[in-house]
């Protein structure tokens, strides 16, 4: 491991200034991904700026009726928070589906968004990888790609984003807030991750040196009936091979609103907007759900060994939307007013 300096930041402008003074610095949150990558030489920072003591560890209701989640809130605290569990249950489920209890206690929300792919070629410095060394090639396309992307990939990279949390955030239109030397800014999560194209090493549109300060969840009454379902190769403590965050509001058999996002199928959380468009205003039922999934997945381009994901995602859409449509207590008028009442408390 390369030797590095270490500084603890106690306020946001101080952290941003430290990074501005050292181009090879990185922010350190829980370290569950960064420290691991430093051990293998994938990451070689000259300075770590520890952001764990920054005053960004709160979860608060917004005036609009949503939630503001600080960047240093741990995964554990996010998943245990009563308002997260009440208003956005799929977000709590997504966080609980990721990693282990130990890692969730360490990992932070900001770091979760910026974690790197677990593609075996990316994490092995002896192998070529366009994400790690631009222009060196992508061995996954001809090699091990059972768990790689079926949507939005390119000839330069087929890696998937590993976060469960980000999939639920994508479904709920989260906004990422950040701070730079020039002041604060914000980005909708839908625009936060770059398309892969020929620059897989550039993963987000965050300005250089920006520090993520938090996430804002807009009010979403539909999210009160939501579900995150994750498929993996063992029952627990593994990355997804396919996952889905879904929320559904049905009245009189007609879909009023639906949210769908896919995980482990692309370089970013995949919001299934085409499926949502087809379902909205239409009937519920396995046939309608399957047709919407097929429309969304028409853009899928499978590699020789990951075509199973197309079927998997189709089945997940049908199964999870069927489950949600059969649940009692879909968000009717009472649910909506209750939520705003909670926010005011």
């Amino acid at each position: 491991m390369r030797e590095f300096g270490y500084q603890r930041a106690f306020d946001v402008p101080g952290a941003v200034a430290l990074l501005g003074a050292e181009p090879e610095a990185r922010y350190l949150g829980g370290g569950t991904n960064l420290v691991d990558l430093m051990k293998t030489g994938v990451e070689r920072p000259a300075l770590l700026i520890d952001v764990r003591e920054l005053p960004l560890d709160r979860i608060e209701a917004t005036d609009a009726g949503g939630l503001r989640i600080g960047a240093t809130v741990t995964n554990s605290d996010l998943a245990a928070h009563p308002e997260v569990r009440r208003r956005y249950p799929a977000l709590a489920q997504a966080v609980l589906a990721g990693a282990s209890g130990q890692l969730r206690n360490m990992a932070t929300v900001g770091g979760n968004l910026l974690q790197r792919t677990r593609c075996g070629y990316f994490t092995d410095v002896a192998k070529p990888c366009n994400k790690r060394v631009p222009g060196s090639g992508c061995p996954a396309i001809e090699g091990e790609h059972r768990n790689h992307a079926i949507l939005g990939a390119s000839a330069h990279c087929v890696a998937v984003h590993p976060s469960d949390m980000a999939v639920a955030l994508a479904a709920f239109d989260a906004v990422v807030t950040y701070e730079t030397a020039d002041g604060p800014g914000e980005l909708p999560l839908a625009e936060f991750y770059r398309p892969v194209g020929d620059t897989p090493h550039l993963e987000t549109v965050l300005p250089a040196g920006a520090l993520i300060t938090g996430i804002v969840l807009p009010p979403a009454p539909v999210a009160a009936v939501s579900r995150y379902r994750k498929v993996r190769e063992r029952a627990s403590y593994a990355f997804a091979i396919g996952s889905i965050a879904a929320a559904l509001d049905v009245r009189d058999g007609v879909v009023q609103e639906v949210r769908l996002a896919f995980g482990a199928v692309a370089s970013r959380p995949w919001r299934a907007r085409e499926a949502e468009r087809l379902l909205t205003g239409g009937p519920v039922g396995a046939e309608a759900f399957a047709a919407a999934a097929d429309a969304e997945l028409a853009a899928a381009r499978a590699l020789p060994d990951n075509g199973y994901k197309v079927t998997l995602m189709r089945n997940l859409v049908v199964a999870v939307l069927s489950e949600l449509s059969e649940l009692p207590g879909a968000p009717g008028e009472s649910g909506t007013t209750d939520l705003s009442g909670e926010a005011a408390r």
């Binding site: 300096g5 000259a46 764990r52 245990a80 569990r85 360490m106």
Partner: protein, 192 residues
């Protein structure tokens, strides 16, 4: 900028302060084992995947192999050496002994530290990935074998002693609950 890549730190471990110079690359795990002689905490994968190095940091379980020692300064660290009350074993330690919750014993310190936290997390009402309804209005899930398996999934046992580990965690949780209940009853009597 000339960066110092090493320095003296003070770690608070099991209630005792230890000051030591460290290279910033030193993990808490290596500081415990190689520098302070606290070898109860074990090194398995050194990649955060096996849980053998689990300790409690500010009361919460964490893998010490991914925790830089310098970043642990100022925090309360509890290792397996610090969980007993003097000569009296922690209820989780006792349950692992009584029910043979191990074979070779290498993963056991991590299993025990993790289980101590699992019981506290469950008592605090935290849901898990196998909790059917995570909403706060739902009844807290009982600590079933399924819940224990999910909550303990960050601790691998290559001997495969899982059956007895689950039983030990369940018994320790029940013992803790009884002790808390008895404490409450005693407190109520005193108040009366």
């Amino acid at each position: 900028m000339a960066l110092s890549t090493a320095g003296a730190i003070t770690l608070n471990i099991n209630g005792e302060k230890h000051t030591l110079p460290v290279d910033h690359r030193t993990t808490l795990l290596d500081a415990l084992r190689e520098r302070l002689g606290l070898t109860g905490t074990k090194k398995g994968c050194d990649q955060g995947q096996c849980g053998a190095c689990t300790v409690l940091i500010d009361g919460r379980r964490a893998v010490s192999c991914l925790q830089l020692a310098v970043a642990a300064e100022g925090r309360e660290i509890t290792t397996i050496e610090g969980v007993a009350d003097g000569e009296r074993l922690h209820p989780v330690q006792q349950a692992f002994l009584d029910l043979d919750g191990y074979q070779c014993g290498y993963c056991t310190p991590g299993q025990i530290c993790s289980a101590i936290a699992v019981i506290e997390e469950h008592a605090a009402g935290w849901p898990s990935a196998v909790t059917a309804d995570v909403r706060p209005e739902a009844e807290a899930p009982p600590l079933t074998a399924d819940e224990i398996r999910e909550r303990m999934s960050g601790n691998l046992c290559r001997c495969g002693a899982y059956v007895a580990i689950v039983q030990a965690v369940a018994r320790a949780a029940a013992d803790t609950e009884r002790a808390v209940g008895a404490g409450r009853a005693a407190g109520a009597e005193e108040a009366a």
